[in-house]
């Protein structure tokens, strides 16, 4: 179990509000295994149960059924909190404090004694590029700077596991890249990152594995390459005679021919070679062969819509 950073077994969180008649399962029978050292993407639309799961992992709320383990210990075990860090979505930090003060505050919560505390705070300010703004109050910080302070407070304890909830929400593209680079940097240091997001473009590039959650149920799980397998290849050719259409169509895929210009969308398997062979044999002129990988966005939309149909 110790090679797992996070493990949940049939985790269910049911909310039965005082006034709502129907209990709602925010998370249902979730079985999750996150390995040490990987970046795990935890995806799903808003309200899918991502934050609920994270709160269970942090011990802020308690599961209705099932179990959750973090770093080999039951979720919420106070000892764990020395080894994990959490950055909530759009957090507010006491904005009357300066960057240095807020990091010092959190360092005190970790019980880091002086002089290590100041050393660590300075190090992290440097690392997130806020050394120069360290003595300005947080209310003068941009959104990106605040998020960097947020990351810095996560790193105070040199955690084994970082749980980041929507780390790039509301940031401009440059700040996006900053945060993404920091995430990769952390992975290189051997940290486990558990990133929840509904924004896909950044995450698909850095996550080793993803799980997709919809309405509390996990609908997809796998290595990112596996999930994205099954893209298509587009072949465009010119001066193609009409008689090639039928053999190509037999290979599968979409085919269109108009005024001698052929466009073929082929599933990504060996048949592309055959298409090219047929076109060239018929005297056609290949203009381009372009592979289209399936994007995470596509997978996401397909999965969620699929889930809706279920």
């Amino acid at each position: 179990m110790s090679d797992l950073a996070i493990k949940t077994v049939n985790l269910t969180k049911r909310y039965s509000g005082l006034w709502s008649k129907q209990p709602v399962d925010a998370v249902k029978n979730l079985n999750l295994e996150v390995h040490r050292g990987e970046i795990f993407g935890f995806l799903g639309p808003n309200g899918a149960g991502k934050t609920t799961t994270i709160k269970v992992l942090l011990g802020i709320i308690y599961p209705t059924e099932g179990e959750a383990y973090v770093l080999g210990k039951p979720a919420g075990d106070p000892k764990n909190h020395y080894k994990i860090s959490y950055l909530p979505e759009n957090p507010y930090f006491y904005d009357f404090m300066t960057g240095r003060e807020i990091l010092t505050f959190y360092a005190k919560l970790f019980g880091i004694p002086e002089p290590d505390r100041s050393k660590r705070v300075n190090e992290l300010l440097d690392r997130v590029g806020l050394s120069r703004a360290a003595d300005q109050p947080l209310r003068t910080y941009s959104k990106g700077m605040q998020q960097r302070i947020g990351l810095a407070q996560c790193l105070l304890n040199d955690p084994d596991l970082l749980i980041l909830d929507e780390p790039t929400a509301g940031l401009d593209p440059i700040a996006h890249i900053d945060i993404r680079d920091m995430i990769l940097d952390l992975r290189d240091q051997g940290k486990t990152l558990f990133i929840s997001s509904h924004q896909l473009s950044d995450v698909e590039r850095v996550c080793d594995r993803v799980a997709i959650l919809n309405r509390g149920v996990m609908v997809q799980l796998g290595r990112i390459e596996e999930l994205l397998a099954g893209g298509h290849v587009e072949v465009i050719a010119d001066k193609v005679p009409d008689n090639v259409v039928e053999p190509i169509r037999q290979l599968g895929g979409k085919v269109s021919l108009h005024d001698g210009r052929l466009i073929v969308e082929q599933p990504d398997n060996g048949s592309v070679d055959r298409v090219i062979d047929i076109v060239r044999a018929a005297g056609g002129h290949i203009i381009s062969v372009k592979p289209y990988r399936r994007s995470l966005e596509d997978l996401f939309v397909e999965t969620i819509q699929g889930g809706r149909n279920v």
Binding site: G59, Y62, P74, A75, D77
Partner: protein, 429 residues
């Protein structure tokens, strides 16, 4: 993850019991020291109605009291009374308001000179009683009550118990203690008066050299002790100056000279100046009861149908004569009853010392064939609040007085009808 919270529950139970135990200890002290006790007809604690200005009730009271003083200065007495009610309700611990308020009622709501509207006196007593109930641990109001009897009502017998209670307080102003000795003496308790002067003298002796005030107090008490003993020796010792008795040949007549204007005249056979005869005109049989218990609750309404006039007539060359004009103030003298009695009294307890040397302060040296009376009385029982700082012995004594006093006076009563006084129908006497 479910945890075991039994320790916290134990802590809660223990703390709940601890706070309850403390609260039970605090409550009696709170009642004693801080409760806004309400011996008022409103029957509510001020907090209960004045929640809106919770922290400010004493402030409101102080503001109103300043206003009330202004009303008094401008002679608007009708406005002062409700203000007194409101102020003492808001801040029942403001001694100043009780003592000054009672003084306003007892002394200042008057017509002119000696002729005050005595219908206000029971009200003043009731007001003081309320103040005492609300402030049992403060000596001032017991003293004020005693003073009201001693000086305004001229009833030393009933002044004594209140002064005795005030005297039990250690922080009482030393000179005020003398009033108990004077009251004891005037009411005829000569033995106790001498004992008390002696005690006061010995007390003063201890601090004699401390400062000017202490030495002065010592001197005053020494002189008073000596004078009292000398007076008693002169009046009641061997070969007393009070014997044989003087024949007063007391008499008095009343004539209605104009509607509501009486001419009173008469004789009092004491060959010295300084005697005063009290004259009272009242609805027949309606003696004013000077007791806090005369009124069930404090009210600032006087009985508007009741006519009560009291005046004091100076005696010159053994005669007295005065025209009493009651036509100017129909509010004070409504004359609503059919029959009235006019009472003339001379009693020696408040006479000047030279006269008392001759007739005695209790009247043993006076005699009258027709109108002489001997009054035997005990002080009326008084109600001492639970938290008053008095010894049990004194509490028993004042709540159930045993000491009887005796004095002589002359008293004549003349009856008049309403028609007589208003001169309805025929003109005449």
């Amino acid at each position: 993850m479910k945890r075991n919270y039994s320790k916290l529950w134990v802590a809660i139970v223990v703390l709940l019991i601890a706070q309850a135990a403390l609260q039970l200890r605090i409550f009696p002290l709170w009642v004693r020291n801080y409760a806004p006790k309400q011996a008022t007809p409103i029957g509510l604690a001020p907090e209960q109605l004045l929640v809106a200005v919770a922290g400010f009730r004493e402030f409101m009271a102080a503001i109103l009291w300043v206003r009330a003083d202004g009303f008094f200065d401008s002679g608007n007495y009708d406005a002062v009374l409700p203000m007194l009610r409101l102020v003492t309700w808001l801040d029942p611990h403001n001694i100043d308001v009780y003592s000054t308020g009672a003084w306003h009622m007892g002394y200042n709501f008057t017509d002119e000179s000696q002729r005050s509207d005595r219908r206000y006196i029971p009200m003043a007593l009731k007001f003081l009683e309320e103040g005492i109930q609300n402030n049992p641990t403060v000596w001032d109001l017991y003293f004020e009550m005693g003073w009201m009897y001693y000086h305004k009502i001229q009833d030393p017998t009933n002044a004594v118990p209140w002064m005795q209670v005030a005297n039990e307080y250690k922080d009482m102003i030393p000179a005020r203690r003398h009033m108990l000795a004077h009251a004891l003496f005037k009411s005829g308790r000569f033995d106790e008066a001498v004992d008390f002067w002696g005690k006061l003298f010995l007390d003063a002796e201890k601090d004699r050299g401390k400062d000017w005030e202490s030495s002065n107090l010592y001197d005053v008490r020494q002189k008073n002790l000596e004078d009292t003993i000398l007076d008693l020796l002169r009046r009641y010792g061997p070969n007393p100056e009070t014997q044989p008795p003087v024949d007063l040949q007391f008499d008095a007549t009343v004539k209605v000279v104009r509607p509501r204007v009486l001419l009173v005249e008469g004789k009092l056979g004491i060959p010295a100046i300084g005697c005063r005869v009290t004259v009272i005109l009242r609805d027949k049989g309606k003696k004013l009861e000077y007791s806090p218990k005369a009124l069930k609750t404090f009210t600032f309404e006087v009985d508007s149908k009741l006519t009560y006039m009291q005046d004091s007539l100076a005696v010159r060359e053994e005669k007295f004569r005065r025209e009493i004009d009651m036509s100017k103030d129909p509010k004070m003298y409504p004359f609503k009853a059919e029959e009235y009695e006019v009472e003339f009294i001379f009693e020696p307890r408040y006479a000047s010392p030279n006269i008392q040397d001759r007739i005695g302060s209790d009247g043993v040296g006076m005699w009258d064939a027709r109108y002489l009376e001997t009054v035997r009385e005990k002080p009326a029982p008084i109600e001492v609040p639970e938290y008053a700082q008095v010894s049990d012995a004194l509490r028993r004594e004042v709540e159930n007085p045993t000491r009887e006093v005796e004095y002589r006076r002359v008293r004549k009563v003349v009856t008049l009808t309403r028609a007589d006084i208003l001169m309805l129908g025929k003109r005449g006497e």
